[in-house]
């Protein structure tokens, strides 16, 4: 069992003091509720997500963290019985407004899933899938996109000689980084990651974590994880979800070293969850 001391050790590594510069908000969630049929999965969610930082969503299984992240790009609407109320504003615009097209939203907000889900196509075709559906046909530009995205996902060196091989031939960790590359290829603004390392071995996990650190220079990242150490290692902000509510949302340092809520403390010290 992990004690609070371990947690402190993890976050003890001196974090560069956040500069007091103004931080823009990418997402601002206001009184958001969500039901699956009659069961309420999210209750009155309310917080702001900053730009170009890593925001971690933690919490025990079934607390609504995956549902929440899927609401951010409206993937949650693929479940037929879902109902929602309240607002999620992305860059100042309510994404549930009628004239807001999901296709538009998802072009700016990419997503990496729990299980690597490359298409049964070549590595190259996987990366250019997004650009192609948005109408980019120029082979030269596509080639450049592939190189840039794969480099961005730290996969280029491993696959540059076999871009035309089927993506299913890659290892699990490579597949997940390919999915990240595929996501980068449409040059999104935000990247949502739904437990991206839960199906990976520790070394692949480490690579993805390093990648996240790299990516946050350019993208705003929201990552769901059930691994608290991971949240502590890679995130700037952390939201702790429990039974569909946000129990605590603050700077990661703060949340792990000095949680203000008893339930947060119990969770991060491993007393439940």
């Amino acid at each position: 069992m992990k004690t609070i001391m371990d947690e402190k050790k993890v976050v003890k590594a001196p974090r560069p003091e956040e500069k007091k510069k103004e931080v823009n908000t990418v997402y601002s969630i206001e009184n958001f509720n969500l039901w699956y049929g009659k069961d309420q999965a999210l209750k009155d969610i309310k917080f702001d997500i900053p730009e170009k930082q890593v925001t971690a969503i933690i919490g025990p299984s079934g607390c609504g963290k995956s549902t929440f992240i899927k609401a951010l790009n409206r993937m949650v609407e693929m479940v037929p019985i879902v109902r929602m109320s309240g607002d999620i504003n992305y860059r100042g615009k309510n994404i549930f407004e009628n004239k807001y097209k999901v296709e538009d939203l998802r072009t700016k907000v990419g997503m990496v899933f729990q299980k690597p889900n490359p298409f049964p196509k070549s590595i190259y075709e996987n990366v250019v899938y997004g650009p192609k559906i948005h109408g980019i046909k120029n082979k030269k530009i596509l080639d450049e996109i592939v190189e840039k995205s794969l480099k961005g996902a730290a996969l280029w060196e491993e696959v540059k000689d076999r871009l035309n091989e089927n993506a299913y031939g890659l290892s699990g960790g490579q597949q997940q980084r390919l999915c990240i590359a595929r996501c980068l290829a449409i040059e999104p603004d935000v990247i949502l990651m739904d437990e991206p390392t839960s199906a990976l071995d520790p070394i692949s996990t480490l690579k993805v974590e390093e990648l996240v650190q790299e990516l946050k220079k350019e993208f705003s990242i929201i990552i769901v994880t059930h691994n608290m150490q991971q949240a502590a290692r890679i995130s700037d902000k952390t939201a702790f979800f429990l039974n569909g509510e946000v129990v605590e949302y603050s700077d990661t340092n703060q949340l792990f070293s000095n949680p203000s809520d008893k339930r947060t403390e119990d969770y991060i010290t491993g007393r439940f969850g």
């Binding site: 993937m75 037929p80 899933f113 899938y129 559906i133 595929r182």
Partner: protein
Amino acid sequence: MQLVDQAKVKSRMQTRLKQNKVLKGVFFGTTIFALVVLVILLYRILTQGIGYLDLQFFQNFASRFPEKAGIKAAFFGSLWLMAVIAPVSLIIGVGTAIYLEEYAKKNRFTTFIQINISNLAGVPSIVFGLLGLTVFVRMLEMGRSVLAGGLTMSLLILPIIVVAAQEAVRSVPKELREASYAMGATKWQTIKKVVLPAAIPGILTGGILALSRAIGETAPLLMIGALTFVAYLPENLLSGFTVMPIQIFNWTSRPQTEFHDVAAAGIIVLLAMLLIMNSIAVLIRNKFSKRL
């Protein structure tokens, strides 16, 4: 105290083993029964028909004389019919399957459609013949043409194609669709680039098996009045026509025994065609299932 009497167990052992052996034989027998009947049938047909099976058989039209009778009109009639059935039933069938699986909301109406499609698959083919006669031949005045026959047969196999295509579409992993939608793809782009490529082997396999049912089907065509004695090839979609099963039926109903041998030759051709089509279906399935 010992509850299990070892001596009795030993004496019962023989009966148990014997029982085991007997039942194995029984089940083997049931399998062999079907096989033997099939082999006898094939043997009779082959020995009867092989003598008539030569190049001439494919080059000649129907004739009053058995030695001159050929399957040309029926063979090409069947091909013409397939040329109508394949595109019509595949396009409508796959379209329906995509609508039901990808677009339709799950409500009472779609459930109603779904149940009806499954029920249609069980409707006797003669009923489809009646439908074709009323709608295509008479109402739409297509006459006893290839087009009317093809459309009737398309209706007959549509339910099979729809169900097969639905299953193929449904078996495409949800994760792949999600990956596509999450990148801002529209529904149609996702269907075109992700769902259909993954579903195509299943759709083709189901489609070919359904087609091979259509090619052996006789009743609906008799109903709409496909001709039984044809000495010409169909020239266009409105030409009269005959097909192999009808030609075979016609030959077997003649009094001269020579014609029964001609019929056997026709059956060989029909069976060979079915075998080829089914093999293609299996090949497609194997080829694509290896790639994934």
